[in-house]
């Protein structure tokens, strides 16, 4: 064991045992962030805060929630919403937080795509981020089942049914996932376990990994410029703060993040208290009833685009049924974003508006995703079904052509 001399202060005492001074340097005061960034770089901190909100409000909800088909609905809508002091507040924060976290995830994700922050050494940041997106989706879906309302039940029914389309093992797989032949008490209790234990554990681990993945390639900046962080850090530490291209994470970067966070929170709490309907669907205030199908079944807004890709293919093409085609397209839609670093064949790291071809691809994709989202909610009848088909096909085509577009772009840039 090392020789310990008597500490002169509490800080020193902890420093001797835990190395807190060095730890704070590495994590905070000498963790360098580029100076040339805008408020979109604050989304990571916003997401961390939102996740903390979800975790804390979730812990309070967990104290009163009852995972049982006979008790769940009233434990949420009566016990938590009406009897427990400020139980309604925890539920509102949890429900609105779950919805808004996806809004910020999408902004975070498309910021990454716009600025090319997924390539040239930043691949693992991107992949771990996409993994978080998938995990949050699973977390959102499993949590949505817990109030055991009509939408909880029918969303669970429709989504678990999707697995039935997998060849050979489909039917058995559906039963295995549900723990029964239909969505039932066993389905509710296992999704409860997933929602409060397994998925959050994996999410926390993946968040840590996501942060770690940032350490070596460093955060991208508004111009996509590569520079020597150590050199810039030395300039900063020597007092040339103006000249240096970096700022420390604490306090400078966080001072800006807190500013963004502050105004975001005003908006967030406005939604929590006064405009929460978008995150708490009216139909879910009817208790689950397996014998009564609601007139319109739709997922929460953040799943609408991929849901529309699923149902966009509604007729047989080349002997493959619409259902199977939809399932294949849905499968592709859920993994294709993982491949961004490899589908983008141009080595350029620049904001999309400075890339001659990619900028069109980016805005086409944005428009297409908005169309998919809106039509994912509308009833798929008449012309709507065809808009859904066209926008689903556009989605797949955009990804299929991305390697060629970016390859051509790289060639054009080289010739200049």
């Amino acid at each position: 064991m090392a020789e310990f001399k008597k500490a002169d202060s509490m800080l020193e005492w902890f420093d001797q045992r835990l190395g807190v001074v060095n730890f704070a340097k590495v994590m905070m005061t000498e963790y360098w962030i580029p100076k040339n960034i805008n408020f979109l770089w604050a989304m990571g901190v916003l997401l961390t805060v939102l996740f903390t909100f979800l975790l804390v409000s979730g812990i309070f909800l967990l104290m009163y929630y009852k995972p049982d088909v006979n008790l769940a609905f009233d434990s949420v809508n009566y016990t938590i919403m009406q009897e427990v002091s400020y139980g309604w507040l925890f539920r509102h924060i949890h429900a609105v937080g779950a919805s808004v976290v996806f809004l910020i995830i999408y902004i975070h994700m498309f910021t990454g795509i716009y600025y090319g922050s997924y390539k040239k050494g930043r691949e693992m940041i991107w992949v771990s981020g996409m993994l978080l997106f998938v995990l949050f989706s699973a977390e959102g879906f499993s949590g949505y089942m817990l109030p055991w309302g009509q939408m909880s039940y029918w969303a669970a029914y429709v989504i678990t049914e999707i697995f039935g389309g997998i060849p050979f093992i489909g039917d058995e797989l559906v039963v295995w996932i549900r723990g029964n032949f239909y969505v039932s008490d066993s389905t509710l209790t296992r999704f409860f376990m997933l929602h409060v234990l397994l998925i959050p554990l994996v999410i926390i681990g993946t968040i840590v990994f996501h942060f770690y993945a940032l350490r070596f390639p460093h955060v991208n900046n508004e111009a996509g410029e590569f520079f020597d962080f150590e050199e810039e850090a030395e300039k900063y530490l020597a007092g040339n703060k103006k000249e240096s291209k970096v700022v420390p994470f604490w306090p400078v970067f966080l001072s800006k993040d807190f500013l963004v966070l502050g105004f975001f929170m005003v908006f967030f709490f406005y939604l929590v208290f006064f405009h929460y309907g978008f995150a708490m669907d009216a139909i879910n205030f009817d208790k689950a009833d397996g014998l009564k199908t609601p007139a319109h079944i739709y997922p929460e807004w953040y799943f609408l685009w991929s849901y529309e890709v699923l149902r966009g293919f509604f007729f047989e093409i080349a002997g493959i049924s619409g259902k199977d085609l939809g399932l294949i397209a849905f499968g592709i839609a859920n993994v294709i974003f993982f491949l961004m670093p490899w589908l983008d064949r141009s080595p350029m790291v620049k904001p999309a508006n400075q890339r001659p071809y990619f900028k069109y691809w980016f805005w086409f994709m944005m428009v297409d995703l908005i169309v998919l989202t809106v039509y994912g909610k509308l009833p798929p009848t008449g012309a709507n079904a065809w808009v859904g088909f066209a926008s689903s096909l556009t989605f797949l085509t955009l990804f299929a052509t991305l390697p060629f577009i970016t390859k051509a772009e790289a060639k054009k840039v080289k010739e200049k």
Partner: protein
């Protein structure tokens, strides 16, 4: 400046998406319907301009109504316990104490004349169905006699005039024979097995209807259920505007109990976060290391 441009682009994209999936999608899924009609213009069997004589109305009520109906406020008690009444008629007959206050005058007169057409339940009580509404039509009475009865009901004073107590009374009188309100500890006066047979399905518990249906839907649905749910066996109840608003207020009192607390807390929390945001702005300025 550049940051505000980026913010404007994000607000525009989010705004368009929001408009599409919320107001627009709801408009497509739930098209606007005819506005609520509290004068029940379609009912024209009784000349309601006639001035009724309450004294004569009392005589007519004693001769025609109290064999089945109680009028607690006028001293006519229940003929039999609820369970027996439900077994005899299918549904517990309403106490008429509040009839003159909660039902529209035109509706009430036309209901006495012919209940089934007033309730818009002709599709349920067809000759082929073999079903018969428990109350007979009083279409043999003169318009004057019917208006006398209406006038008598109108002079009976309600239990409470305004506030949560009135909301509760109106709800129980207007809806409580079929619908329960679990979150208020209230159970429908007609036993569940009777009402299920009578209606064809168990009428839903209304504890969360203010949330699952919303005020806008309820306002038009209660006024005329057939407009939003054609073929439903729920009758048009003929509530006047005041009574309907009291019923909806009660559904909100029970289904959204914390509304007042939510709205006051909300303002304080938003103010608090605004102070936080301003403090963060000042802190960032003080550090002053950012070029942008």
């Amino acid at each position: 400046m550049k940051e505000f441009k980026i913010l404007a682009v994000i607000i525009a994209l989010v705004g368009i998406t929001y408009y599409g999936i919320e107001p627009y999608a709801h408009h497509v899924m739930h098209p606007e319907v005819a506005p609520a009609d509290f004068s029940f213009k379609d009912l024209k069997n009784v000349d309601t301009s006639l001035k009724g004589n309450p004294d004569n109305g009392k005589v007519l009520v004693e001769a025609n109504c109290i064999a089945c109906h109680s009028i607690e406020s006028a001293g006519y008690p229940k003929v039999m316990p609820n369970a027996d009444a439900a077994a005899s008629y299918g549904v517990v007959p309403p106490d008429l104490s509040g009839a003159g206050w909660i039902y529209d005058k035109n509706y009430l007169a036309n209901f006495i004349y012919d209940p089934v057409s007033a309730m818009k339940l002709q599709h349920k009580y067809t000759p082929e169905s073999g079903k018969q509404f428990p109350m007979p039509a009083y279409n043999w009475m003169s318009a004057q006699e019917i208006m006398d009865i209406v006038a008598y009901f109108q002079i009976l004073a309600p239990k409470a005039k305004a506030g949560p107590e009135a909301h509760k009374n109106t709800f129980e009188a207007a809806c409580g024979r079929c619908h329960s309100m679990k979150y208020a500890g209230f159970e429908a006066t007609t036993p569940v097995e009777n009402i299920k047979t009578y209606m064809g399905a168990t009428p839903p518990d209304l504890s969360q209807y203010i949330k699952s249906r919303g005020e806008h839907y309820l306002y038009s649905f209660i006024n005329d259920p057939q407009v939003l749910l054609p073929g439903t066996s729920m009758p048009r109840t003929g509530l006047n505007q005041k009574a309907q608003e009291e019923v909806i207020a009660y559904m909100e009192d029970i289904g959204d109990r914390k509304k007042a607390e939510r709205e006051t807390t909300g303002v304080w929390v938003m103010l608090y976060t605004l102070v936080f945001a301003i403090a963060a702005l000042l802190w960032k300025r003080k550090l002053g290391d950012f070029s942008s």
